[in-house]
Amino acid sequence: MIYLDNGATSWPKPLQVRRAFCTALEKYGANPGRSGHALSRKTAEAVYRVRKKAADFFGGRPEQVMFPLNCTQALNFALKGSLRPGDHVITSCLEHNAVMRPLEALKARGVAYSCADLDVKQPGTIIASMGRLLRRNTRMVVVTAGSNVCGIRLPLREIGVFCKKHRLLFCVDAAQGAGVIPIHAQELGIDFLCVAPHKGLYAPMGTGLLLARAPLRPIIEGGTGLNSMELVQPADFPERLESGTINTPGVIALGSGIDFVREMGLGKIYAHEMKMIQSLYDYLCQCPNVVMYTPRPDESFCLPLMCFNIGSLHSEETAEYLDQEGFALRAGLHCAPAAHRKLETLEQGTVRVCPSVFTKEEEMFALAEKIENFAKKHPITH
């Protein structure tokens, strides 16, 4: 099986990550931050080292790093913990439901939102669009670092400048970009950075990361191992947002994933994965009946992932055929109907190709040939 669904979760995981997970289960078995005995302290040290690594990698302080169970939880903490009734939020037209559903739910609490449009070929056009949407009560901009459907990157640096100019909180859904492109919260002026470590950082599923550089109200209260006599949640991060037991083996393995990405180098990872996507794109451009939705991907505007369709077939049918031929791809709406609305693919969905650092060029050629042969039998009928 050739796995090209790394946008859902990366696979395989590097050997060092798998070993770190197993070591954590064997040797770091106590609950960190709860007890004073040696094993609890040793486990807490291991978790703290990962907070430090993550803080260093993403541009913050260790206590600003929280470990929810996934990026969706991180986004919920960031949005629901900062927005108040009467606030207005600007987001983009490409967002995943991890952003859109919390925003929609917050409408019931008096929070409004607007979606900034952009030209897919020139994502920088979103800045002017955001300017037109600005209101007196606009309090936050929340955007994806890059679309999980089509790979379009948003200009985070320029958006950070926009937020600073207008004194807005800046929240980034880095589920697709973290571990592939440099994202430094301090340099980019990001207040809340939400990461899916099980994707670009090659961590196990069940890990999330939130780097919070501004205050947040908790949305989950519970035991934190701190100030137990008080019935209010602790005031300080990270415990304020880490009620209950964290996914300790996952977090320790996440540390190893960060090491892996650092050792490989972001530039090298990006260049490799983009080469895979460009090889596929260039081949498919020559194929009749294959539809693609962006210009040729390159680093000026794209993460290394792409989407396509064959003829008028529903994307799930194409993915099913490719699955039978040994290729693991995701089709449909990718939990991001907003992006599909923008691409005008709401009915058909799209098939997504997302390589990892382990993907080989011959695998992309094998996929391209399968798509080409299948496409010959399925013309576009409308």
């Binding site: 807490a44 703290y48 260790p62 100030n227 006599m229 008080e230 300080d236 415990e239």
Partner: protein, 75 residues
């Protein structure tokens, strides 16, 4: 004999504080905060060999929040 420790709250701040103090030449160790029936209960403290007030100043200057002192018995 009793020794004073500085209370820092969470294990994260305790580790950050310990590493900071050690980088400044202090010998610092993480301990559980002894519960003496105060309002808060549960947390971590830093036991320091040397001038505790000087250690507290270093911690404060570097953004580590301090939550008073506790005493622990030492032989």
């Amino acid at each position: 004999m009793f020794k004073e420790m500085v209370n820092v709250g969470s294990v994260t701040y305790a580790m950050e504080g310990r590493d900071l103090l050690r980088s400044k030449g202090f010998k610092a160790y993480i301990r559980r905060t002894p519960y003496h029936g105060d309002r808060k209960g549960c947390g971590y403290s830093l036991e320091v060999d040397g001038d505790l007030s000087a250690a507290e100043a270093v911690l404060r200057q570097n953004g580590i929040k301090l939550r008073g002192r506790s005493q622990v018995s030492r032989q």
